[in-house]
C-alpha cells in the first residue's frame, strides 16, 4: 500500500499515543461549557411536567421580576424567526415542530419557556417561577398505546410516523414458514436507551452582525451543524461558524441540534447577547432524545438440517413525539440476514409517534437485526438439537461463497463472519468449556457460552445526500511541519491521532511533526462527521490520497531543484533524499521555505507552497465482520450475571491504530452489556419517565465490564487504504452475544427470552418458575420455630358498580408511616374534582376518571417539593391504589367509603 519511495517509518498499525491525550489528561481540553464569552448570559428552560396537554396560560411575571433575569421567551416570542426543524437527512418532518411548545405539550420535559439570566442558578430560580397552566390529556406512551390510541399529532391520521414493508401477509412465504421442519417465532423487546454521553448537550450562540452567528456546540460534526442551522434558519452558511474542539461523547445523540439548541440559537439572535445553555443530567435523561425502544417478532423457518428456509420480521419502534427524523429503521431488515444464506425474507416495519421524548440515533441504530437474528439462531439450535456454532457454520456466507448478493440485492464481495468465527474458535476451546459447564451444573453453578456473528455496513457514502465523502487538506508548512485540516470530528474517536498516523507514514514525516485540526466549520469541508462508522474508512482514504498528492509535489520540486528524476527521490522522517546523492539530502523545511518564499526557483507551472487536498468518496458500503463469544455465570440465588470471559474477533481491514480500534470495540461492548443487564429508560402509564437520575438509569461501572480479548482478522477492504469501519460493532454484536450466554446458562430452567434488560428479577423468575415481577401478597408467616400469629384471611372482594362520588376514609402507607385522610370525590363525566383532608390541612385537586379508576396529582411543598400522583381504583365500597411520590417511588393506598 505504501506509495513507492515514501516513508520508512511505519505508523499505520501501531499503538502510538494519542494526540488528544496531553490536553485531556491535564484538564486543558476545550468542551463547550469551558467557553466564556464577554457579556454571556445563561439559559434554563421551563418544561412540561405532563406528557400531553393543552397550554392554557403562561404567566412569566413572577419569573421576570426576579433580579438577574433578563428575558423570558415563549414560542410566541421565538416565532418572530422562522425555524424549520429538519431530520438528520436535512428533510422537513411530517408533523409541525417548533423549538418551544406551540400551544400544546407532547412529552414530559417538552420545553415551554426559555429564561435568560445572569447565571444558571438564577435562570433555574426563574424557570421554577414560570406559571404554566395545562389542560392535561391522556397520553400515548407505549407502542401498543400508539397502535390503538388517538393520534399524538393534530396533523396526522394515525400514530404511524413511518412505515415500510407489507402489511398483508405473503401467502407463499407464510406457507413456506408453516410447512418448514422448524419454525421459530421469537419476540425481542428492546428497552429505551439514553445515549448518556458524559458531556451532556450544550450550546453557546452569539450573534456577530446582522446575519453572522457563531456557535460553540457539542456535536458530531461542526460542518453538519452549520449546514443544518443554515437550512433551518434560512441564513447563508457562510455566515455561520460552528466550533466544537472537544466533545465528551455523543453516540448518536448530537447528530443535529434539536429543540433546546435551536431555541437558544433563536433567542440569541433575538436578544443580541451571547447565550449559554448547558443541559443538566436530569434534562439529559428526560428531554434529550433517546433511542431504541423497539419490539420485533421474527419468524424463521429451518429445514431438518438446520438450514434457513425463510423468515419474516415485524418491527416497531417508538419514535416519541418529535423524532430526529421519523423512522422505521429499514436497515434492520436490509442487514437482518445479510451474512446468512437465506432464500426469502419479508417484513413489516413501522415507527410510531407517542407522548414521549423523541427518538434519535444510538450507536448501531439497526442493531436489532443482530440481536433478534443471533438469539433466534440459538433458540433454533436448542430446539433442533444442533450445536449453536454448527448451526451458524451451515448458514453463514463464507469467502468461498462470494461474490454473491443478499436477498435485498446488496453485493457481497469480501465479508468474513464465518472466517472470524473460525479464528475465534482457535482461541476458544468450546469442548473444554462444555465439560466445565457440565461439572459446574453438578455443583449448582450455571455457566453459559454465547456466540454471535454479524456484518455491519460502514463508511457509507453517496447514497444519501448528507452521507458524503471526507476532505483532507494537507500542508507542509514553511517550518517543515505538517498540518492537516480535516472534515473529521472526534467525540473520543481519536481522529487527530489516526489521521496523523496515516499522514506521517504516507508523507514520510515524524508522527510528532504532524498536527491535525478539526472541530471548526470554518476549516476543512463538509462531512457528517461521526455517523455510521465512517471516518476511518473515508477520511482515512482522503488522507492517504492527499498525502500522496503532497509527496508527489515535494518530489517534483526537489527533482527540479536538484536536477534529479522524481522516481529517485524519497521522503523519510522529514528529510528529502536523492538516491545516489546523499549529500543532496535536504530537510522538508528547506524545501518548504523555497516552495513558499522563492517563486523564482520553482519549476514552470508549479503552484507555490506545499499544499494538497483530496475529497474521497469510497464505494457505497464497506462491510465489517465479526464473531464474538462470551462466558457468563448466573447466580441462581440472586439472578445476577457475572461475565467471566469475552473474546472479540473482528475484521476491520487495515488497522490504523489497534489501541483505537480496540477502544471502539470495548466501548461498544460496554454499552451492549449495559443494554442487556442494566440500562432502562421507562415511563409510567402517564408518560412520566421513571429514571431521571443516574441513581435509577444504571450505566455500567468498571466492575460490570470484564477484560476483553481481541483477535483481528485484517482483510483489506475495497476502499483506499483497505480500512473498514469499527465504531459501532461492539454495540451491535455485544447484546446478542451476552443474551445467548445467559440463555445457555439458564437453558436447564427454560428459555429466558429477550425482554431487555434481563434484570435480576426476570432471570430469577425463570429460575424460580414464577413471575417475581407480579404483585403478590406476601406469604403468611409460617409457624415453624415459634408460634407466630396467622394473618387474618383477606376480606372477600365484593364486585359492585363503581360509585365514586362521596367521602372516603383512606390510609396512605408511607412515607410518614400510616397516614389517615379523608377524600371527597366529585365526578362529572370523565372529570374528577375534590379535596383531601388530613390533620395537616386540606388540599383541593382536579383529575380524571376512567371507569372505576381515578387519577389526580397533588403538589406538596413540605417536607419537600414533590408531586404526588394518585392512581386509585374503586371496587364497591373499597378503594385501593398507589401514590407515586417522585424520587421515593410508590406508596400503597387503601380506603373505604364513609
Amino acid at each position: 500500500m505504501n506509495a513507492p519511495g515514501v516513508g520508512a517509518a511505519r505508523y499505520i498499525g501501531q499503538r502510538v499515543p494519542r494526540k488528544e491525550d496531553p490536553r485531556l489528561l491535564t484538564g486543558r481540553g476545550q468542551f463547550v461549557d469551558d467557553i466564556v464569552l464577554p457579556g454571556m448570559l445563561h439559559v434554563a428552560f421551563a418544561r412540561s411536567p405532563i406528557a400531553r396537554g393543552k397550554i392554557l396560560s403562561i404567566d412569566t411575571a413572577a419569573a421576570r421580576a426576579l433580579p438577574g433575569v433578563h428575558a423570558i421567551y415563549t414560542n410566541a416570542d421565538l416565532a418572530k424567526i422562522k425555524v424549520e426543524m429538519l431530520s438528520f437527512f436535512l428533510t422537513p418532518g411530517n408533523v409541525s415542530i417548533t423549538p418551544l411548545a406551540d400551544g400544546h405539550v407532547a412529552y414530559v420535559g417538552d420545553p415551554v419557556a426559555l429564561v435568560i439570566a445572569d447565571d444558571r442558578y438564577i435562570a433555574e430560580d426563574a424557570a421554577a417561577l414560570v406559571d404554566i397552566q395545562y389542560a392535561e390529556e391522556d397520553p400515548v406512551v407505549t407502542i401498543s398505546d400508539a397502535m390503538t390510541g388517538a393520534p399524538v399529532h393534530a396533523d396526522t391520521d394515525s400514530n404511524i410516523a413511518a412505515m415500510m414493508g407489507v402489511e398483508e401477509p405473503d401467502e407463499e412465504l407464510e406457507a413456506r414458514l408453516q410447512a418448514a421442519h422448524c419454525l421459530v417465532t421469537h419476540k425481542v423487546t428492546h428497552q429505551r436507551i439514553s445515549q448518556s454521553p458524559m458531556e451532556t448537550r450544550g450550546v453557546i450562540a452569539t450573534r456577530e452582525g446582522a446575519e453572522e452567528l457563531t456557535l460553540y456546540i457539542t456535536c458530531q460534526s461542526p460542518h453538519m451543524i452549520a449546514r443544518y442551522v443554515s437550512l433551518a434558519l434560512g441564513l447563508p452558511d457562510t455566515s455561520i461558524r460552528v466550533i466544537a474542539k472537544d466533545v465528551g461523547g455523543s453516540f448518536g445523540l448530537k447528530n443535529t441540534p434539536w429543540l433546546e439548541e435551536m431555541s437558544v440559537i433563536v433567542a440569541a439572535l433575538l436578544f443580541g447577547r451571547p447565550l449559554k445553555w448547558i443541559e443538566d443530567r436530569v434534562e439529559n435523561l428526560t428531554s434529550a432524545n433517546q433511542a431504541r425502544e423497539q419490539e420485533m417478532i421474527l419468524r424463521t423457518a429451518f429445514d431438518a438440517n438446520g438450514r434457513l428456509v425463510a423468515s419474516h420480521g415485524d418491527y416497531s419502534v417508538n419514535n416519541g413525539a418529535y423524532p430526529q427524523g421519523a423512522d422505521c429503521n429499514i436497515a434492520v431488515h436490509m442487514f437482518m440476514w445479510a451474512a446468512y444464506k437465506l432464500p426469502e425474507y419479508a417484513f413489516l416495519s413501522r415507527g410510531w409517534y407517542s407522548n414521549t421524548v423523541g427518538m434519535a440515533a444510538y450507536r448501531g441504530p439497526w442493531a436489532m437485526e443482530s440481536l433478534i437474528r443471533e438469539t433466534t439462531l440459538d433458540i433454533a439450535a436448542r430446539r433442533l438439537g444442533i450445536d449453536t456454532i454448527e448451526l451458524r457454520r451451515r448458514n453463514l456466507v463464507t469467502l468461498a461463497d462470494q461474490p454473491t448478493a443478499t436477498t435485498f440485492g446488496i453485493p457481497l464481495e469480501d465479508i468474513t463472519p464465518a472466517e472470524c468465527l473460525d479464528k475465534l474458535l482457535e482461541t476458544l476451546d468450546v469442548a473444554a468449556f462444555r465439560v466445565e459447564q457440565a461439572e459446574a451444573r453438578k455443583q449448582g453453578r450455571y455457566l453459559g457460552l454465547g456466540v454471535a456473528a454479524y456484518v455491519e455496513p460502514t463508511g457509507s457514502a453517496g447514497s444519501i445526500s448528507v452521507m458524503t465523502g471526507e476532505l483532507a487538506q494537507l500542508r507542509i508548512e514553511p517550518t517543515g511541519k505538517v498540518t492537516a485540516t480535516m472534515s473529521t470530528h472526534s467525540q473520543g474517536h481519536g481522529t487527530q491521532t489516526t489521521m496523523a498516523q496515516i499522514i506521517a507514514e504516507k508523507l514520510g514525516v515524524a508522527y510528532e511533526d504532524v498536527t491535525v485540526f478539526e472541530g471548526d466549520s470554518s476549516r476543512g469541508g463538509f462531512s457528517p462527521g461521526a455517523a455510521g462508522s465512517r471516518q476511518g474508512v473515508i477520511a482515512g482514504g482522503a488522507t492517504i490520497k492527499a498525502s500522496e498528492l503532497l509527496a508527489e509535489k515535494v518530489k517534483i520540486l526537489a527533482g527540479h531543484l536538484f536536477n534529479a528524476p522524481v522516481e529517485n527521490i524519497t521522503i523519510e522522517n522529514g528529510m528529502v533524499h536523492i538516491a545516489g546523492a546523499e549529500e543532496m539530502t535536504r530537510s522538508l523545511r528547506a524545501i518548504a521555505e523555497i516552495a513558499y518564499g522563492e517563486p523564482t526557483r520553482l519549476p514552470p507551472g508549479f503552484e507555490a507552497g506545499l499544499e494538497a487536498q483530496y475529497r474521497y468518496t469510497p464505494p457505497p458500503m464497506t462491510f465489517t465482520s465479526a464473531a464474538h463469544a462470551c462466558i457468563v455465570e448466573v447466580d441462581t440465588d440472586t439472578g445476577f450475571v457475572k461475565i467471566k470471559r469475552w473474546i472479540s474477533c473482528e475484521d476491520c481491514g487495515t488497522i490504523i491504530n489497534p489501541a483505537v480500534v480496540e477502544g471502539q470495540i470495548a466501548g461498544g461492548l460496554a454499552q451492549g452489556i449495559g443494554t442487556v443487564l442494566l440500562e432502562e429508560m421507562s415511563f409510567d402509564a402517564r408518560g412520566n419517565p421513571t429514571a431521571v437520575t443516574y441513581k435509577d438509569y444504571l450505566l455500567p461501572a468498571i466492575s460490570d465490564i470484564p477484560d476483553f480479548e481481541y483477535l483481528h482478522a485484517c482483510t483489506p477492504s475495497q476502499s483506499v487504504g483497505g480500512i473498514r469501519g469499527v465504531g459501532e460493532g461492539g454495540a451491535i454484536i455485544g447484546p446478542p452475544t451476552l443474551v445467548n450466554a445467559i440463555a445457555d446458562a439458564l437453558a436447564p430452567f427454560g428459555e429466558i427470552g429477550c425482554d431487555l434488560p434481563l434484570t435480576p428479577v426476570k432471570i430469577l423468575s425463570l429460575i424460580e418458575g414464577r413471575d417475581l415481577a407480579a404483585v403478590v401478597a406476601p406469604p403468611p408467616p409460617p409457624v415453624v420455630v415459634v408460634e407466630a400469629p396467622a394473618p387474618p384471611p383477606p376480606p372477600p372482594v365484593t364486585q359492585a358498580a363503581a360509585v365514586i362520588d362521596g367521602s372516603w376514609k383512606m390510609v396512605l402507607s408511607t412515607p410518614m408511616g400510616p397516614q389517615e385522610m379523608t377524600g371527597n370525590f366529585v365526578t362529572s363525566g370523565g372529570q374528577l374534582s375534590g379535596e383531601l383532608l388530613s390533620p395537616e390541612g386540606s388540599m383541593g385537586f382536579a383529575g380524571t376518571v376512567d371507569g372505576n379508576r381515578l387519577l389526580f396529582d397533588l403538589k406538596v411543598e413540605k417536607p419537600m417539593k414533590i408531586t404526588l400522583k394518585y392512581d386509585i381504583t374503586i371496587e364497591g365500597d373499597k378503594l385501593t391504589g398507589k401514590v407515586k411520590m417522585g424520587f421515593f417511588g410508590n406508596a400503597k393506598l387503601t380506603g373505604q367509603r364513609i
Binding site: E199, G248, R281
Partner: protein, 158 residues
C-alpha cells in the same frame, strides 16, 4: 442568600474571594477559579467526573459547597503534572494504556488514582478498582483505565 468570604489554596495557589452559599465546589472551581478541568457530569454525585482532592481526600466536588473549602487545600487535574510538564504517574499510565477517549470523565478518574497513590501509598489492585467503580466512563469500556490502575497498584507508574 448569604455570601461568604473564603480563602483557599488551589493547586498551590491562594484564592480569596466571596462565594454565594448555594454555589457548589465544582461550579466555584470552574467558574470563579477557572479550573475548567473539573468536569460536571451529573451534579448528583454518581458519575465521578467532578472528583477533586480536598485536604488529601478524593471527593465529589458537586457534593460540596464552595463555602466549605474555606482554609482547605484543593487539587484539581490542572495541579497534577509537575511544573515542567512531566505527567503525574496516573496521567502517564492512562496515556500509555489508552485509558481515555472523549476525556470527559478522565479528570475525575485521575484524581481518584492520584489520591489513592499519593505519598507512599500503594493500594492493592482490588482497592483501586473498587474506588474506580465510583466513576462512569461511557467511552472506553474501562479497559485502559483498568490496565492503568493495575500498573499504579503495582507501582510501575511511579
Amino acid at each position: 442568600m448569604s455570601k461568604h468570604e473564603i480563602e483557599v489554596t488551589i493547586n498551590g495557589r491562594r484564592f480569596a474571594g466571596a462565594v454565594e452559599s448555594r454555589v457548589t465546589l465544582s461550579d466555584f472551581l470552574r467558574g470563579e477559579a477557572g479550573y475548567t478541568g473539573v468536569h460536571v457530569g451529573c451534579e448528583h454525585g454518581v458519575c465521578g467526573a467532578c472528583t477533586v482532592i480536598v485536604n488529601g481526600k478524593a471527593v465529589r466536588s458537586c457534593l460540596m459547597l464552595a463555602v466549605q473549602v474555606q482554609g482547605a487545600e484543593v487539587t484539581t487535574v490542572e495541579g497534577l503534572a509537575a511544573p515542567d510538564g512531566t505527567l503525574h504517574p496516573a496521567q502517564q499510565a492512562l496515556r500509555d494504556e489508552h485509558g481515555l477517549q472523549c476525556g470527559f470523565c478522565t479528570p475525575g478518574v485521575l484524581m481518584t488514582m492520584a489520591a489513592m497513590t499519593a505519598g507512599e501509598q500503594k493500594p492493592d489492585e482490588e482497592a483501586l478498582l473498587a474506588a474506580l467503580s465510583g466513576h462512569i466512563c461511557r467511552c472506553t469500556g474501562y479497559q485502559g483505565i483498568r490496565r492503568a490502575a493495575r500498573k499504579l497498584a503495582a507501582g510501575e507508574g511511579a
